[in-house]
């Protein structure tokens, strides 16, 4: 059935409607957020969500977000950047090097590595969080930045993607030509292969950045010092401030903070999306 519509593209009412529903479904919450960040807290609670209401409080909200609790939001933002740059950056470098190595060199135990990596992709990170916590607690790494960065460095899926991509994008003939011309393996990698791999690297980097930026469960169980929190956990802390004895609801700050949190990731997507697409499809066809 899928083949049928693929070969003879036709306007399908069902599909159009379905797609329309999906668009509304994904855009509505965003719209709600855009309207909500302009409201004061009382207006936020009492007015219709998809239109403006009351005084335009966006700038007050923004100012309050970065100053509330001695400006801890800025700290959380910086923490997230550290986790993303070191964690996701490191993951990308490791995945690229390892994927390339596995694709282009023959050595003993290669298929064992292959099986391990495929198996690792099947295990969600959330399932590993508790064992990782217990391991880290034995070596005294919990409640440190390393407890977030180290697990982020490992990306089996990224490695797999780079492997498939390397096999496709870097012809073995070029490598042989480079070797004949006397280039060492490192030089070949850095001057020739790396350039050919660029779209794949961007894809893997985007995956890793998004995963690290949105990482919630791991920091939740690893960290207990609010000064080390990433944005995800910090925003939850503000949300949770609304419950129990001594509650201080700051729903307007939670929403404005959430908005500030998604802005960088949206920008990253818009800038890198064409690489993302080509990278994904290259992997897809080959796999």
């Amino acid at each position: 059935m899928a083949g049928y519509s693929y070969l003879r593209p036709r306007k399908s009412v069902t599909l159009t409607v379905l797609l329309g529903v999906l668009i509304v479904y994904s855009v509505l919450p965003l719209l709600w957020m855009l309207f909500s960040i302009t409201k004061t807290q009382p207006e936020l609670l009492s007015s219709f969500g998809l239109w403006f209401s009351g005084p335009f409080a966006l700038f007050d909200n923004l100012r309050e977000v970065v100053t509330h609790d001695d400006g801890i939001f800025v700290r959380w933002f910086a923490n997230t950047l550290v986790y993303v740059v070191v964690g996701a950056g490191g993951a990308t470098i490791l995945a690229t090097a390892a994927g390339y190595g596995l694709a282009k060199y023959r050595f003993r135990g290669r298929s064992a590595v292959f099986a391990t990596i495929l198996g690792a992709i099947a295990v969600p990170g959330t399932a590993l969080a508790v064992p990782t916590f217990l391991l880290f607690s034995q070596v005294g790494l919990t409640n440190t930045m390393w407890s977030i960065i180290l697990p982020s460095l490992v990306s089996p899926f990224g490695l797999y993607l780079m492997w498939v991509f390397s096999a496709e994008a870097v012809p073995t003939e070029i490598l042989e030509a480079a070797r004949v011309d006397g280039a060492g393996e490192w030089r070949t990698f850095f001057t020739i292969s790396l350039r050919l791999l660029a779209p794949g690297i961007v894809t893997v980097a985007l995956f890793a950045i998004v995963a690290t930026w949105n990482n919630y469960f791991l920091p939740l169980i690893m960290l207990n010092d609010p000064d080390l929190y990433p944005l995800t956990l910090g925003l939850y802390q503000w949300l949770a401030d609304a419950s129990g004895i001594g509650a201080q609801p700051v729903f307007n700050l939670v929403i404005t903070g959430s908005f500030l949190t998604i802005v960088p990731i949206v920008i990253a997507f818009l800038l890198l999306q064409r690489y993302w697409q080509s990278g994904l499809s290259a992997g897809g066809v080959k796999a």
Binding site: S137, T142, N143, L239, S243, P249
Partner: protein, 448 residues
């Protein structure tokens, strides 16, 4: 806001896992205490405070910063590091994690009364009797002292209390033409009248909240949980529990209460616009109404809890203590800070200034406290009502040693009664069954 619920479950599961691994590690060291028995007198504590050092304090109390400021004025050589643990649920998980990790355990930590057995029974809290804290008993209300002094030790000093009270929106009551209920029978009738007057409104909201239900059982005179450290008795069909369930059943059956989860943004909105006409919660509620429900200013009032037979009885709802974990490396200094925090006048004044409801008799009975006229409550002397409620709290209540786990499975058992409008007593029986099997798995003798 379903995130909250899912996360609670996730945290509960994690806590359970860790608790299991902890029990495995700490086998043999029963009865707690045993921290080298380094007893100390009040003089020695004072000397330690003068000498100085550093103390890590985990709390979610909003007034903590102000209190620490005062403390560091009194004892400039002691450096207190404050860690905001957000809320009770988060705090339990964090403490559990830190103890499991054996690293980063705080010196003084805020724990809800209902979670004390969970940390005390595995020997994770310091018995403060060794620092002479038994002499402080007369400072606190009997019900809060009873929550920290259990199983032959003193496991913390009460910070606040939450005797229940009936908070209601006078404007909505006037519109519906109803009076404040003094008995639970009247309460059900008022609920009916408000629903009839305006179907969008409810007298109260409840979607199955374990903290509320246990307090209601407590108020009805039930003592469904009893434990002496090893033997646990669970009877969720005792006289008081049954009395509560039978009173409450019509509210569920006839859909007289709104199924709105507490503390959500909708809840705050509903308290402000009159959709929810009353809440029965702890005496700490006024501060939250003032902060979170500015629209309700001038409309809300407070009354004593409705009774079953005209005799005033009450229960605690929430409230917490500060304790010293067994793994603290500086117990003497920690005990000194704790003693100052929850018994010195400077600290308690700072706590009360912004709406904290104390646990100390002296402050609860002071003229200044009782005479306070709340502008939010239309000039009502709210503390006269709230303070009187503290004296009527039923004695003998205990929580389960695994209360936070029990609360996490409340929705799956008792919560079902709210969803299908089925029997609350059946739901409670199901909750009991799950708890008996969980407790037995944890190595307790349950209903043996």
């Amino acid at each position: 806001m379903t995130i909250t619920c899912n996360r609670r479950v996730a945290l509960g599961a994690l806590a359970t896992l860790l608790a299991a691994s902890l029990t495995a590690c700490s086998g043999g060291d029963e009865g707690g205490g045993g921290g080298g028995g380094e007893g100390a007198s009040a003089d020695e504590i004072e000397a330690a405070l003068q000498e100085g050092g550093s103390v890590t304090y985990w709390t979610w109390t909003p007034q903590a910063e102000k209190q620490i400021e005062e403390f560091e004025k009194a004892y400039p050589d002691v450096d207190v590091t404050l860690v905001d643990t957000v809320g009770a649920g988060e705090a339990n998980t964090k403490l559990q994690n830190a103890i499991a990790a054996g690293k980063g355990v705080p010196d003084v930590v805020q724990i809800e009364y209902q979670s004390i057995p969970q940390f005390q029974l595995p020997g994770q809290l310091t018995d403060l009797t060794q620092f002479g804290f038994d002499e402080l008993e007369s400072l606190y209300t009997p019900s809060t002292w009873g929550s920290v002094a259990q199983n032959g030790g003193i496991w913390g000093l009460p910070q606040d209390s939450g005797p229940m009270a009936f908070f209601y929106n006078q404007e909505v009551f006037d519109e519906a033409g109803v009076e404040v209920p003094t008995t639970w029978d009247e309460y059900v009738e008022v609920a009916r009248a408000i629903k009839k007057d305006d179907p969008d409104r409810c007298l109260a909201n409840d979607s199955g909240d374990p903290g509320f239900s246990t307090s209601m059982i407590w108020q009805a005179g039930g003592t469904p949980f009893q434990n002496d450290g090893e033997n646990v008795t669970i009877d969720l069909a005792d006289e008081g529990t049954t009395r509560f369930a039978e009173m409450y059943q019509p509210l569920i059956d006839d859909e007289l209460i709104c199924q709105l989860p507490g503390w959500s943004d909708e809840w705050y909105a509903a308290l402000g616009d009159g959709t929810i006409a009353s809440v029965a919660l702890g005496a700490w509620m006024p501060g939250i109404l003032e902060d979170g429900v500015p629209d309700g200013k001038g409309k809300w009032r407070v009354a004593p809890m409705p009774t079953y037979d005209g005799t005033p009885t009450n229960a605690e709802n929430g409230g917490s203590t500060e304790s010293v974990p067994e793994a603290s490396e500086n117990k003497l200094l920690a005990a000194g800070f704790l003693k100052w925090l929850n018994s010195s006048d400077e600290s308690i004044q700072a706590f009360m200034e912004t709406g904290g409801f104390p646990a100390t008799v002296e402050h609860l009975e002071s003229d200044e406290f009782l005479g306070y006229e709340s502008e939010y409550f239309g000039g009502q002397k709210i503390n006269e009502v709230l303070g009187a409620g503290a004296a009527d709290v039923n004695e003998g209540w205990q929580y389960l040693p695994w209360q936070s786990y029990a609360n996490s499975i409340f929705a799956d058992t008792v919560g079902q009664a709210y969803l299908d409008r089925s029997s609350l007593l059946d739901g409670l029986a199901a909750w009991q069954e799950e708890n008996v099997s969980y407790g037995t798995d944890q190595g307790f003798t349950v209903n043996g």
